[in-house]
Symmetry: C2
Subunit: 385 residues, 2 copies
C-alpha cells in the first residue's frame, strides 16, 4: 500500500465522506498534541473551544466538517462545537475532552447537528488505515479546493504525514485553512507546540492568496510516539518540510490561480522583516496581475517592497526572476540590468519566483501565493444569496 500522508504514520486511522457541500472527516490517533490557531479577532466557535482543549497537551481523535464554519454563531455555536466532540467521542469510544474539532464553510450559520451526527456515525464505522481512507479524509474537508492536499516526510527513525485544505479566506464566505498533521515520533507536548509554532510561522503563515485571514484557521499536530525518541532538530526540520509542502499546495490552489508565486527576501537584518516584505509583495494585486499576464514589471516588486514598512536602501538591492530552473537578474545593486525578453520567458511556467536581496544582513524568508485572475473575481463576486 502506498500512503500519501497521515495513514503512513503508524497508529493513525481515518475516514471521510461528503454529501454535496457537507463533508465530515474523523481521524483517530492518540498522542501528545499541539495546535496553532487564527489570529483574527473574530474566532469561530471550534477555535474558541480548541484553544482551551489543546492546553491538556494530549488528543485521541479529530472531527472536522466542511460546509458550515460555525463562525459568528455565539454561545449556541460554542455548544454545537462541544456537541461535535461528543458525537466523535461516542462514535469512537474516546473522552470528548480528547477530541479536536474544526469547521470550514459559510460564516454566520448554525451547524446542522443531526446531519453531522449521522455522518459521524457512518464515518466512524468505516475508519481505517488505508490509502483510500486518507484520500477520503482529505477530500471531505475540501470546500473550493480543486484538489486534495497530502504531504509525507519519511526519515530513518520517524514519519510525518499531513492533510490540509483551503487557504486564506479564499472562498465566498468560506473559512480557511485546516491542517491535520501526524507523526509517530515520541515528543513532549510542550516541545511539539514550540516546533509546530515555528514550522507554521515559516509555512502556513507565509501563504497569501488574498490577504484575508480566516475566522477558522487551525493546524493540529498529534505525535503518537510509536517510533520512539527523535532528534528534536531533525524533527523540527522535517515538520517544517511537511508544513511547507502543504502550504505550497494551498498557494497553488488559490481561487482562480494559474501560477504559484514564490518570493524570497535575502540579505535582511531579521527573518521577520524579510517575511514581512515577502508577504507584502505576494499580496500586491499589481504583482499578482503582472504574474498572471506574464508581464515582467519588476518595478511593481520593488515598489511593493518599499511600502512594507521595513527600512532598506532601494538603490542597493538586487532582484532576480526565475521559473525554478534558470534565474535571470533584473536589478543588480540598484542598477537596472533587466533583459525583459528573458524575464518574460521565465514567467511562462506554472511557477514564478522572485528573489530580492536587500544587502543589509544575513537573514532570509520565503512566502508563497498565486496570481490574480478574472476567475478569482468571478468566483468571489458571483456568489449570491
Amino acid at each position: 500500500m502506498t500512503f500519501r500522508s497521515i495513514c503512513a504514520v503508524k497508529g493513525v486511522k481515518t475516514f471521510g465522506m461528503k454529501e454535496g457541500k457537507f463533508g465530515l472527516t474523523l481521524i483517530r490517533a492518540a498522542g501528545t498534541a499541539a495546535g496553532v490557531f487564527t489570529q483574527n479577532l473574530v474566532k469561530a466557535a471550534p477555535i474558541e473551544l480548541m484553544r482551551e482543549q489543546i492546553k491538556k497537551g494530549t488528543m485521541e481523535a479529530v472531527i472536522a466538517n466542511s460546509g458550515c464554519a460555525n463562525a459568528y454563531t455565539g454561545k449556541r455555536g460554542y455548544n454545537d462545537a462541544i456537541e461535535m466532540t461528543t458525537f466523535a467521542g461516542s462514535a469512537l469510544n474516546v473522552d470528548p475532552d480528547q477530541v479536536g474539532v474544526a469547521s470550514t464553510g459559510v460564516i454566520g450559520r448554525y451547524l446542522d447537528l443531526p446531519l453531522i451526527q449521522r455522518q459521524c456515525e457512518e464515518v466512524a464505522r468505516k475508519i481505517d488505515r488505508t490509502p483510500e481512507a486518507e484520500s477520503l479524509a482529505a477530500e471531505a474537508i475540501m470546500t473550493t479546493d480543486t484538489f486534495p492536499k497530502h504531504a509525507l516526510v519519511q526519515k530513518e527513525t520517524f514519519t510525518i504525514g499531513g492533510i490540509t485544505k483551503g487557504s486564506g479566506m479564499i472562498a465566498p464566505n468560506m473559512g480557511t485553512m485546516l491542517a491535520f498533521i501526524y507523526t509517530d515520533a515520541d515528543i513532549g507536548a510542550k516541545t511539539l507546540s514550540q516546533i509546530l509554532k515555528k514550522a507554521t510561522k515559516r509555512s502556513f503563515n507565509r501563504v497569501v492568496v488574498d490577504g484575508d485571514m480566516s475566522t477558522n484557521d487551525i493546524a493540529l499536530c498529534t505525535a503518537t510516539g510509536e517510533s520512539g525518541k527523535v532528534n528534536p532538530v531533525e524533527f523540527s526540520h522535517a515538520l517544517e518540510e511537511c508544513c511547507r509542502s502543504l502550504a505550497q499546495q494551498i498557494a497553488a490552489d488559490g481561487e482562480g490561480a494559474t501560477k504559484l508565486i514564490e518570493v524570497t527576501i535575502r540579505g535582511a537584518q531579521k527573518e521577520e522583516e524579510a517575511a514581512k516584505i515577502a508577504r507584502t509583495i505576494i499580496e500586491s494585486p499589481l504583482v499578482k496581475t503582472a504574474v498572471y499576464g506574464e508581464d515582467p514589471n519588476w518595478g511593481r516588486v520593488v515598489a511593493a517592497a518599499g511600502r512594507a514598512g521595513i527600512e532598506f536602501d532601494p538603490n542597493a538591492v538586487s532582484l532576480w526572476i526565475s521559473d525554478g530552473n534558470q534565474r535571470y537578474p533584473l536589478v543588480k545593486s540598484g542598477e537596472i540590468i533587466a533583459d525583459l525578453k528573458m524575464a518574460k520567458a521565465a514567467m511562462h511556467g506554472k511557477k514564478v519566483i522572485f528573489v530580492l536581496d536587500l544587502a543589509r544582513g544575513k537573514e532570509e524568508a520565503t512566502a508563497w501565493g498565486c496570481d490574480l485572475t478574472e476567475r478569482y473575481v468571478e468566483i468571489n463576486g458571483r456568489y449570491t444569496t
Copy 2:
C-alpha cells in the same frame, strides 16, 4: 465663466497639453506652499527633490508631466527633475527653486527631456485663467484615469480649488496620485503644512484602490493670500472638504471600478484605530468582489475588521449597509438581524456604504475604495512589454 477648480482662485493661471501618453501641465501662482509626499521607501526623483524644495515654504509655479514617473532612475533622474524646474522657471520667468515638480507614469525609465522642454514652452505660451485652461491642466496629468478630477470649495471670505489624478498604484507600472490645490487665503507656510497634513490624512490617505502605495504620490498646496487672513478652523474644514471630494473621485475612478465603496467605523477609541479598520475592510478583495457582485456577505466585512490588528469585541458590534439614501441594519450589538434581500437591494447603485460601530468609544473615521472587477485584472495583467 464657470470655474470647476483651481482657476476659481484669484491669481492662478494654468494650461496643459497631451500628446499620446505624454502630458504636461504648468500652474502659475505665487504664495506660501506646503506639500505631503509618498511614504513608500522607494521615492521617485521629483519626490526626493520636492521634499527639499518645499522647506522654503514658498512656491511660484508647478510643472507636472504624465507618461514617465522618473522613478527608480537614480542620480540621473534627480538631475532630470531639477532640469524640469529649470525649463518651467525659464518659460515662466521664475526662479527654478520656486518651481514644484511632479511626475506620473512608467517606473524605471528616464524622462524624454527634449519632449518635456518643447511641451513646457508651448504650454507656457498659452497659460491662462479660464475654465478651458483648468480643464486641460487636469486632463494633461491623467494616465489611466477615465475622467479629469476637479474640486471647488467656495466660502464667504476665501476659495479653495484643486485638481488631481490617479489613485494608489492603480495602473500598469503607473505612478499614482498627484494633487495640486490652490487657495487665495492668506496663511503661513507652517500652518498650511499642518492643515494640509491633517486633511490629507483624512482624505487621500483613506483612499484604497488596490493597497499599493506609489513611488510618486504628492499633494501640493499653494496659498496666494489675495483674499486676506482667514479663520484657520474654517479653512481647515474647507481644505479637508476639497481633499475629500478629490479623494472620492479617485476612488470612484479606480481601475475597472463599477462602484464606490465607503466604510465608516464608529465607536472607536482612537480615530487612527477606526481608520486602520476602515482601510482593512476597503482593501479586502473579498469585500471588494462581494460589492461588485452585489452580494450582501456582511460576514466578510466583520472578518476583515477582525484582522486589522485593533482590539474590539466582535460580539458587541453593529453593522449597517446603505446606498446613500436608506440604511439597513445587518448586525445589532453582535446579533445577526440582516434582511439579506433588503441588503442586496442596497447594493444596486453606484455607491455602497458600510457603517460599523465598535461600541468602544467616540471616535470615527471613513475610508473610500472601489469594487474589484474582472476589468481590473484585465487592465493590470494584460499590459505587456
